[in-house]
């Protein structure tokens, strides 16, 4: 049986893509609570997605 590395890489990509929106969405939510606004969380989620995609390219993309 082979393909263990492929499974791991795929799941790591997934993990990055999950972590980005989670982390920056949470930070945005905190900022929203603090400033009594309602848009930082959305901005944070989008920004986190972008950061996650960037990280995936850096880690796994071909130069």
């Amino acid at each position: 049986m082979e393909g263990g590395e492929g499974i791991d890489q795929g799941l790591r990509v997934l993990s990055y893509l999950l972590s980005g929106p989670l982390l920056y969405g949470f930070l945005g939510w905190l900022l929203d609570q603090w400033l009594h606004t309602s848009y930082w969380m959305v901005l944070g989620i989008v920004f986190g997605m972008a950061a996650g995609v960037y990280l995936v390219i850096r880690r796994f993309g071909r130069p």
């Binding site: 590395e5 799941l11 972590s19």
Partner: protein, 269 residues
Amino acid sequence: MGLLGLIIPMEGGEEGSHWPPGVHSFDPKPLFPDAGIDWLNTYLLQAVIATILVIVLWLWVSKHQKVVPGFKQWCGEQLYNVVRNGIGRDALGPDYQKFTPYLLALFSFILVNNLFGQFFLSMFPTFSRVGYAYALALLTWLLYNGVGIAKHGLGGYLKMMTMPKGVPWPLYIIIIPLEILSNFIVRPVTLALRLFANLFAGHLVVIVFVVGGTLLLEQSSFLYKIAGGASLLMAYPIFALEIFVGVLQAYIFTVLTAQYVASSLADDH
């Protein structure tokens, strides 16, 4: 009701209170409900039995080794080779021998516990309780971080895990928290949740088919009885699927543990 009655699940047996099936169907049942020791429940018993089974199995298989293997030894070696060659050597390269004992123990322990979900006396997979899955993921977490720190030193390991090459330095402020979250929290947590959720969901489907089928069979309408019988029959293919999922998840958990260790040991990403 004796001890056996508590180990045998209540699927289909009880009326009323078990419909609809849900998270409560997985509540641990204390072995001695009157003794006030709630922690001594069926899940713990299963885990302990599985541990004993795994130890006894490998002691039995490895006893009286011969140069020309008999059937028992051949079967043991085949299973051992799947873990050692297919998982360990495939992922870890020349260092694989050091990690084979852990991988083999992990694989057989998860496998036995998953098959408990289909075994007629237990009927609950141990890892449908999320705490047990977290405990295994914690072990793997300690292993891959410990191995990485031992090889690269604390600073070097953290640098390797959190600072990918080719990123301009201002971006590290954004990237490093993300890497920490991804590598040290999300990856092990998803490792545990994957094992837990597969077994939990699969077993819930079985409960729905069996309990629902029984309930339909008890109705007076003839059509309900037909639907109930069909539902009970459908439980068997689902059981077969559950056996497959149990084996697959044991394999995946072990493969990913090996891969996590391999990525901690890697010189460069």
